[in-house]
C-alpha cells in the first residue's frame, strides 16, 4: 500500500507538473511580428468628419441589412448602436460636456496574432498568410462563439435572432471591394482620408510621421502598435483611447499565451500518452495484487483509506 501511495504521488507529480509548469514555460514565448506583406488600415480620428460614408458603403458592398434603432418603428434609418450581425463597420461619437468631441470608427482590428483564429476549433476563422487578413468561412463554422469569447476587441458578431445563424465580421472586403478594386470600401469612400489602406509598415510610419509633425494634435500613443501583440489596423486620435471606447489591453498576445500552455501540455501528445501508460501500469499492478476476487477485508481496506 505504501508503494501505491508513492506511486500516486509520482503520478500527481507527472500529471500535475506538466499542467502546472505550462504557464511558467509559456512566459518565454517568441515575440510576435507582422509579416512584411501585412496589410491594414490607419484611422486618424482627427480627420474624421463623421459622415458615415464608410458605414453606408460597407453595407452596400458587403450586402448587409440595415440595423434600425430599437425606437425607430418605421425603420427609417440604418442606425446600429454598436457593431452587430448587420454591421461590420461603425462610426461612434465621443463627446464630453465641455464640447470636446471625436468620432471613432470600429471594425475588425486584424490582429497580427488573432485570438479568434487561435480559438476556433474547426478553422472557420482564418488568417490569410502574408497579408494577414482575418476572415471567416461560414461553411465550416459550428457556431460555438468561442471566437467572440476570445476576441479582445469584441469584434465577431453572431446572428442571434436567426434560426440558422452565422458569425459576421470585417474581412477588409477580402471577397468584395478589395478583390475588385484593391481597396476596402470604407477607405475608398472616405472623403477626408481619415481611414487609409496600405501595408502595415507604411501605415505605422505614416502614423509616426503625423504624430511627430503635430504632437499638439495627437495622443502620444498609436493604438494597435503593440496591443495584444500588435494589430494590422492602427489608430491615432486626439482624444484618449479610453474615451474613445477602447479597452486598455496588455501588449502580450492572449492567443500566443494560450497556445503555449496548450502546446506545453500536449506537445506531440507525449504527456497524455505517458499519463495513460503510467496509469495503466499502476492500475494493472494494483489489480494483480488485489486479485480477482472480491472478498473485502474491511478493516484492512479501511487502513489503506486512512493512509491516503
Amino acid at each position: 500500500m505504501k508503494k501505491t501511495r508513492r506511486e500516486f504521488i509520482k503520478l500527481a507529480a507527472l500529471g500535475g507538473a506538466g499542467i502546472a509548469a505550462a504557464p511558467l514555460a509559456a512566459e518565454a514565448s517568441a515575440p510576435i511580428a507582422a509579416h512584411e506583406d501585412a496589410v491594414g488600415m490607419l484611422y486618424d480620428a482627427t480627420l474624421c468628419v463623421g459622415c458615415k460614408a464608410c458605414v453606408a458603403s460597407c453595407k452596400n458592398v458587403n450586402d448587409m441589412d440595415a440595423a434600425p434603432a430599437p425606437n425607430d418603428a418605421d425603420r427609417l434609418w440604418d442606425a446600429p448602436e454598436d457593431l452587430d450581425y448587420r454591421t461590420r463597420n461603425i462610426i461612434k461619437l465621443y463627446k464630453d460636456g465641455e464640447g470636446d468631441f471625436s468620432y471613432v470608427k470600429y471594425q475588425c482590428m486584424h490582429c497580427i496574432k488573432p485570438s479568434c483564429v487561435s480559438a476556433c476549433p474547426v478553422a472557420a476563422m482564418q488568417q490569410e498568410p502574408g497579408r494577414g487578413i482575418v476572415f471567416y468561412d461560414k461553411d465550416i463554422c459550428i457556431g460555438c462563439r468561442y471566437c467572440q469569447v476570445a476576441c479582445p476587441f469584441n469584434i465577431p458578431k453572431f446572428e442571434w435572432p436567426k434560426a440558422f445563424p452565422k458569425i459576421v465580421k470585417c474581412d477588409l472586403c477580402k471577397f468584395t471591394n478589395l478583390k475588385e478594386k484593391g481597396i476596402p470600401a470604407c477607405c475608398e469612400v472616405c472623403p477626408t482620408k481619415a481611414v487609409i489602406y496600405g501595408k502595415r509598415e507604411f501605415l505605422l510610419a505614416e502614423a509616426k510621421k503625423r504624430l511627430a509633425e503635430h504632437p499638439e494634435k495627437y495622443q502620444k500613443e498609436i493604438y494597435g502598435e503593440f496591443e495584444v501583440g500588435g494589430t494590422n489596423v492602427i489608430y491615432i486620435a486626439g482624444e484618449s483611447f479610453d474615451n474613445l471606447g477602447f479597452r486598455e489591453l496588455e501588449f502580450d498576445s492572449n492567443a500566443a499565451f494560450s497556445e503555449n500552455i496548450q502546446h506545453t501540455i500536449y506537445k506531440g501528445f507525449v504527456a497524455p500518452v505517458a499519463l495513460y501508460g503510467f496509469l495503466a501500469f499502476v492500475a494493472l499492478k494494483n489489480r494483480k495484487n488485489h486479485g480477482h476476487g472480491h472478498g473485502h477485508d474491511a478493516k484492512h481496506e479501511g487502513k489503506d483509506g486512512s493512509e491516503k
Binding site: G16, P121, V122, E301, G305
Partner: protein, 399 residues
Amino acid sequence: MVPKSNEYMALHREKILTPSFWVLLTFTVIGFYCIGLRYVMGIGAVSNLSDGFPWGIWIAYDVATGTALACGGYALAIVIYIMNGWKYHPLIRSAIVTSLFGYALAGFSVMVDLGRYWNAYSFFIPSRWQVNSVMFEVAVCVMAYNVVLAIELLPAILERFVHSTNPRFPKLKEFARKIYPKLDKVLIFFIILGITLPTMHQSSLGSMMIIAGSKLNPIWQTGFLPILFLINAMYIGYSVIIFESTLSSVAFGRPFEKEVRIIAKVIPYLTAAWLIIRFADLYYRGHLSTAFSGDYYSKMFLAETLLIAGGAYMLTWKHFRMSPRWVFVSAVMLCVGGSWYRFSVYIIGFNPDKGWAYFPSLPEFFITLGLVAFEILGYMVLVKMFPIMPNLEGHKKSA
C-alpha cells in the same frame, strides 16, 4: 475487475412512476419545449446571450460545471484503480451512470448552444481540425469520454440480459453471454482511458478561458487555470459521490455507505493544494489586493473561497466526518463553492467591455433546468432497470 454476476450490484426494485418522477417530467417537458423554440426561432429568441456574453449558463453550467459535477466516476476510478481502494468498488456503477448522464447532458447542451450545429461533423474531418484551439481538445476529449463511459456501463446492461429470466429475447441473452467475458477482459483499458481523458479535458476547460485575456477579471485569469480546474474537478467529484450516496440512501431507504467517510478524507488534501495554488498565484501576480478589495468581484471570490475552504475544513475533523449530516453539509458546500468558482471563470468574472450585463432569461434557465431534470429522471429510471446500485447483501457483508 468487474464481477461476473450480480454479486454486489443490485437492481433497485421499486416502481418507476413516483411523484418525483412526475415533477421531473414536468420540468423536462418545459425544457424541451424551450429547446424546440430555440431551434425554430434562434438562440436570441430564447436566451439573454449577447455579443458581449456569447456564453451563458448553457456553457457555464451544463458544460463547464456539469462535467465537474459528473466527475464522480473519474474521481472514484482514481481511488479504486490507481490508489488501490477496491473497497469503493460498489459505488462505481452509480458514479459512472451519473458521470455518463452529466457528460451526455453537456454534449446535449452543446448541441443546443451551437449556432451552426449542422456543421458539428467538422470535428470528424481532419482537414478542419484546429489543434491550437483549446475547445477542439475539449470537444474531442469529451466525445471520447462519453463513449468510454458508455463502454464502462455496458457490463451492467449486459448483466441484466445475462441474468434475464424473460424468455422474450433469447438471442440478446446469448449475445450478452458471449460478449460479456470479452468485454470484461479489455474493460480495464477503457477504465484507464476513463481516467486519462477527464484529466485532459477538465484541465482544458480551465485553459479555455485563458485566451479571453483581460476580459476575465484578474482574480480568476491566470495561466494556472488548467491545474486549478483539474483539482477542482477532483474535489467536486468526491463531494458529488458523497452527495449522491447520501441522497440515494435517503431516497431509496438504504443504509449510509460508510465508504464515503474515507472518501471525505481525501477532499481536504485536494482543496488544500488547490487553495495554495490559488493564493500563491494571486500573490505572484500581485492581485491578492484585488481579491480582497471588497468590490463585487472580490465578494464573489470570497464567497466561493469560503464555501470551498469551509467545507474542506470541516472534513479535516473526524467528528464531522463521522456524522452523515455534516459530511453531507460539507459536500454540498464544496459542490456549490466549486461550481461557483467555475461560474466565476465563465460568467461572473467575465466582463467583455464597459456596460455589458448578462443574466439568463427564463426559457434559457428552463432549458438547463429541463436537461438537469431529464438527467435525474434518467438516473432514477436506470437504477430501477439495471443493476447499478450496490447490493445490500454484499454491502452488509463488506461492512
